[in-house]
């Protein structure tokens, strides 16, 4: 783990833990409920990558923007999105954050700077760059952080967006979560060179242990300070691992095929690699929190998850008429 930071008090540390745990427990619940057919559509889970999103979002403000990916629940919650509204969205209810019109792959809360999860791999590059361009024109010190994976880094818009951000010194932070897989394909088999070398042509870069929340936080803080003060874009790569499949219950259509070993997955779940177990050990080891503190966080998270499930299940079905009225403002589709 990174060094304990003197500027943190216990509450700050426990807030990081709570947010990571909220992502983990809420997605474990989604994984189980998905198999029971409790909600429509697919979910792509973030389990195993929690330190990356939570560490990164812990050092930006409400007014700053993020763009997310198809694996977007973690980013939504890390940036302060409400779990129960996200669940209601996944359940297709009108209480959903997008009134049931977007679903899991499109959770967004523009009031909190969450410009949306995105079903197009790499879809966030240009959107984040455009937002950063807007901030640059306004001179208001806001930053735009683009979460993407190693799979998305093979899209051409990655280079294009880095080029614009560099040419105009925009406050864009390219946050690459390198989990080693591009959907169902091992990224190394389809990727030439190192991703970081692509970014080095345009901006300062750093690779950090993406399962160490404090290391991610420190690296992103530096990038945010650079962006806010006119220093232009940065590339931060977090090395991490996707524990779940590309999407839940993928075995059903893989026809028995596999693309990685059970041993590999298991290795990333061990106490020395799992981002939450590592952080809990750090907190107790440093005397920042004790077992009772951790248990209290766990309990509070479990309660919030159960309340959110109840909220989503009790919600009203989405209004089909919205499909016609929401395409345009003040204009029927």
């Amino acid at each position: 783990m990174a060094e304990a930071n003197v500027s943190h008090n216990q509450a700050d540390y426990l807030a990081l833990l709570r947010r990571m745990l909220l992502i983990r427990r809420s997605e474990e619940r989604l994984s189980a409920l998905c198999r029971e057919g409790k909600f429509p559509g697919a979910v792509h889970l973030y389990i195993g990558q929690e330190a990356s999103g939570v560490g990164a979002c812990s050092v930006i403000e409400d007014r700053d923007w993020i763009t997310s990916t198809h694996r977007g629940h973690g980013h939504f919650l890390a940036k302060g999105g409400e779990l129960k509204r996200m669940y209601a969205e996944i359940w297709g209810k009108r209480e959903g954050i997008c009134k049931g019109m977007g679903g899991s792959m499109h959770v967004a809360d523009f009031s909190k700077g969450i410009l949306g999860a995105n079903g197009i791999v790499g879809g966030g590059f240009a959107i984040a760059t455009g937002a950063a361009f807007g901030a640059k024109l306004r001179g208001d010190g806001r930053v735009a952080m683009c979460f993407f994976g190693d799979g998305a880094a093979n899209q051409g818009t990655f280079m294009e967006s880095m080029n614009v951000s560099s040419a105009w010194q925009l406050p864009t932070i390219f946050l690459c979560e390198n989990n080693g897989v591009s959907e169902f394909t091992i990224s190394s088999t389809v990727t030439g060179g190192k991703l970081v070398d692509r970014a080095k042509a345009f901006m300062p870069t750093v690779i950090v242990d993406g399962n160490d929340v404090l290391a991610v936080q420190a690296a992103v803080r530096e990038a945010v300070e650079r962006a806010r003060t006119g220093g232009g874009p940065s590339y931060v790569e977090t090395t991490t691992y996707r524990i779940q499949g590309h999407l839940e219950a993928e075995d059903a259509f893989l026809g028995g095929g596999t693309y990685r070993s059970a041993e590999e997955i298991s290795a990333w779940q061990q106490a020395n690699r799992d981002p939450i177990l590592r952080f809990q050990a750090f907190l107790t080891g440093e005397g920042i929190a004790d077992a009772a503190d951790l248990a209290a966080v766990e309990q509070s998270v479990l309660e919030e998850v159960e309340e959110a499930v109840a909220f989503a299940e009790a919600g009203e079905d989405a209004d089909p008429e919205l499909a016609f009225s929401l395409m345009f403002e003040n204009q029927e589709a």
């Binding site: 009031s111 455009g130 361009f133 306004r138 818009t157 589709a333």
Partner: protein, 326 residues
């Protein structure tokens, strides 16, 4: 009323709307110099924070237009030629057209995209398409295709004051055409067709670059005793169905003239509206004059062979109108 060229009218609209609203910005390829003339002079007046050349990266430019709206801007993106809409299509089709619904209406999308379109200049296959059928099929995008100077100005001003994503497709071959433009703050609403010429024997529904040859055809037909009514749709999304059906009820015959390919083009859609909602009025089959399912060839003689023109339109009209002057 002042006389302005089509492209000057667009330039006037940009000047006026940028003066009116400091949140209007213009970005795109070569907008500072303006190869078509539509953005000329804006840089000197408004400077690099209001108008800026982008790199040549359409797939990113379109997404950036969406992103910049998050900072409160109305983005006018110039994509130069309509063929480049295809290059930047992902963010248009998957992001801009869908973002408002996907987010449950959390946001508006004040984006105006300008592109020149159409053949007639030997610009060959990759610089002569119209692209509007692809845009019409997306659902969340308004598409304006002005045929004259006044509409070019008025439709663009409406687009820039709208919170909905809109395309203004400039009829490239019409850029130098002169026309009267009303004084003052001239706005033309979307979804309201104009009757470009009144007639009682046949309706020609058309838009943009095809209005001029349709009027030329109508004039020639008039000398033969056939009076064609020419409907200029002005916008294809939203589309003025009422105007199409009212004219069809009057004439009973319909020819659709459109500068897009035949298969799943705009003409087929308009013909379907007539078949579905105007069937009782029809005295003859609906005819379409458009581009065959080919790429636009380079050589002038070959290009002319595939593009609609006044003669082809007149032939189509004669084919469904039995009343011919003796």
């Amino acid at each position: 009323m002042p006389r302005r060229r089509y492209i000057q009218a667009i330039n006037d609209a940009l000047f006026e709307e940028m003066e009116r609203n400091e949140n209007v910005i213009v970005i795109g390829e070569d907008v500072e110099l303006a190869i078509f003339g539509d953005t000329r002079g804006l840089y000197d007046r408004f400077g690099p924070n209001r108008i800026r050349n982008t790199p040549i990266c359409e797939a990113t430019m379109t997404g950036m237009a969406l992103g910049a709206t998050a900072a409160g801007f109305h983005v006018v993106l110039h994509m130069m030629f309509a063929n480049f809409v295809y290059t930047g299509f992902d963010a248009i089709a998957n992001q801009i057209a869908k973002m408002r619904l996907m987010t449950g209406g959390q946001i508006a999308l004040p984006i105006t995209i300008i592109a020149g379109y159409g053949g007639g200049g030997s610009n060959a296959a990759q610089h002569s398409d119209s692209a509007h059928p692809a845009l019409m099929n997306l659902g969340g995008i308004n598409v304006a295709m002005p045929s004259n100077s006044a509409d070019a100005k008025g439709l663009l001003k409406t687009a820039i004051r709208s919170n909905n994503p809109s395309f203004l497709l400039e009829a490239s071959a019409r850029g130098g055409q002169m026309g009267d433009v009303p004084d003052g703050d001239h706005l033309v609403p979307f979804g309201k067709a104009a009757i470009a010429r009144e007639g009682s024997d046949v309706t020609i529904v058309t838009v943009g670059s095809m209005v001029k040859p349709s009027l030329d055809a109508a004039k020639a037909l008039s000398e033969e005793g056939i009076e064609a009514e020419v409907i200029d749709l002005r916008t294809v999304v939203p589309i003025d169905e009422a105007a199409i059906l009212a004219s069809l009820a009057k004439t009973g015959r319909l020819v659709v003239v459109d500068e897009s390919r035949d298969r799943c083009g705009a003409g087929g859609y308009i013909a379907a509206i007539a078949a579905d909602k105007g069937f009782a009025s029809l005295k003859a089959p609906v005819k379409r004059v458009n581009i065959p399912n080919v790429a636009i060839p380079f050589a002038p003689i070959a290009e002319a062979a595939v593009l609609p023109d006044a003669n082809k339109i007149a032939v189509a009209v004669r084919g469904i109108v039995s009343k011919v002057a003796a």
